[in-house]
């Protein structure tokens, strides 16, 4: 299969599955960081927790 010959593609598929698999406002598995995918909710959470924000912009064409 194509992705078996292309480790980078395989890696991307795994990452996409991890990220898309949750399909909700945020995503995380056990022993992983919770990541929000909505800017406004990120701000609200930071207000609630008084934590700083680490914001990633990822362009996925």
């Amino acid at each position: 299969m194509r992705f078996m010959r292309n480790p980078e593609l395989l890696f991307s598929i795994v990452l996409a599955c991890v990220l898309l698999g949750f399909g909700s406002k945020s995503f995380a598995q056990d022993n992983e960081i919770r990541w929000f995918d909505n800017y406004r909710e990120t701000i609200q959470e930071a207000k609630r927790t008084q934590k700083p924000i680490f914001l990633e912009f990822r362009c996925e064409p």
Partner: protein, 359 residues
């Protein structure tokens, strides 16, 4: 895809790792659609497909992380330097909460839906607002409105290597090697860059963003460095065309594509050809791109000397005919070249090409 592995390593950081422990003290967000994002607040070089901000709930930005050069999108992405940035971000947040940091005025908001070409060609088709399209369309609008400054808008993110500064990337803003203007100004390996023109910088992303803000007509920049605990100001002379970078990786730049590379003739070489020496942009073709033939853009050959474009032979900025066309012409224009080929002066046409994105 650019930054894919780095992105995954960050997102999938185990909570019991050093990086994970730092990230756990943040609210983390990964945004992949720019539709409702204030791109005025999060202004950056839009040809970075991966970019980070450390900020707070008041939308005050502490620092940026990311940035690239023409060689690679990954040149400055490094997990060690990211950890340094995350630790610094926590420190800055503590200072902000204690009222020790001044609030910065929020930049004028700008949302993707306010960029007409983006709406027409992307948003209205329910297509993804890809980051680079924001920069691309802003530049197209600037060009249409006569507000395009190519040195600033087209040649975004000048390369600090032009100053002779090579960073020790895992260590953030620690200088690894120094040459050229930076060496002449007294910068040394091991120095840590602290500010540029008075603005504090914590990461390469900060440094590149602030360096990009330097007026293209400036002659010097002031950089403050930390050398073994002592802060030292160095004044670095900006070399000619310090803002120039290779735009090849920018897929839909407004730069007119000319499909040849050239090297400026020396003053002696110009005199030998009976050309203007000082200020003349006569240059020798050193490479012809295969697209020149495919697109029938021009018939230049390696070794040709191009000494005039539409009758003009000198320019206050451009030192080659190639750069003159890129700076002074609009993509899609056809120009007449004055060329010396095998010792004979001839004229030929060159049709510049406008890049279009793959969609």
């Amino acid at each position: 895809m650019a930054g894919r592995a780095f992105d995954a390593q960050v997102v999938l950081s185990p909570t019991d790792s050093a990086r994970g422990k730092l990230l756990s003290q943040y609210v983390c967000a990964r945004i992949t659609r720019m539709d409702d994002i204030d791109v005025g607040l999060f202004d950056r070089d839009w040809n970075n497909t991966l970019y980070y901000f450390v900020m707070n709930a008041d939308e005050q930005i502490y620092m940026r992380y990311g940035g690239r050069d023409a060689r690679s999108p990954d040149s400055y992405l490094n997990l060690n330097s990211l950890e340094l940035a995350l630790a610094k971000g926590l420190e800055l947040h503590g200072r902000y909460q204690r009222g020790e940091l001044k609030k910065v005025d929020r930049p004028k908001p700008l949302f993707p839906r306010e960029i007409p070409l983006l709406v027409e060609r992307t948003i209205s088709r329910n297509a993804c607002v890809e980051c680079h399209l924001i920069g691309d369309y802003l530049n197209v609008h600037r060009e249409q409105d006569g507000k395009l400054d190519k040195l600033t808008h087209m040649y975004r993110s000048p390369d600090i290597r032009t100053l002779g500064i090579e960073l020790d990337v895992p260590k953030g803003l620690v200088v690894k090697e120094v040459r050229g203007s930076a060496a002449a100004a007294g910068m040394q390996p091991g120095d840590r860059i602290k500010s540029i023109n008075g603005t504090p910088v914590w990461t390469f992303g900060d440094l590149q963003y602030q360096y990009d803000k330097v007026n293209r007509n400036a002659e010097r920049i002031q950089i403050t460095i930390d050398r073994a605990g002592t802060l030292i100001d160095v004044s670095i002379a900006l070399p000619e065309r310090w803002w120039w970078t290779d735009l090849t990786f920018r897929q839909w730049t407004i730069e007119p594509r000319v499909y040849f590379d050239s090297v400026a003739l020396t003053d002696q070489e110009k005199r030998d050809q009976g050309l203007l020496d000082r200020g003349g942009f006569a240059s020798k073709v050193k490479r012809v791109d295969m697209f020149a033939e495919m697109t029938k853009s021009h018939e230049l050959r390696v070794g040709d000397i191009v000494f005039g474009v539409d009758g003009v032979q000198r320019d206050e900025v451009a030192n080659t005919a190639e750069l003159f066309i890129k700076l002074r012409k609009t993509a899609g224009e056809t120009v007449t070249l004055d060329v010396i080929r095998d010792g004979k002066r001839v004229q030929m046409k060159l049709k510049t090409y406008k890049m279009s994105f793959r969609k």
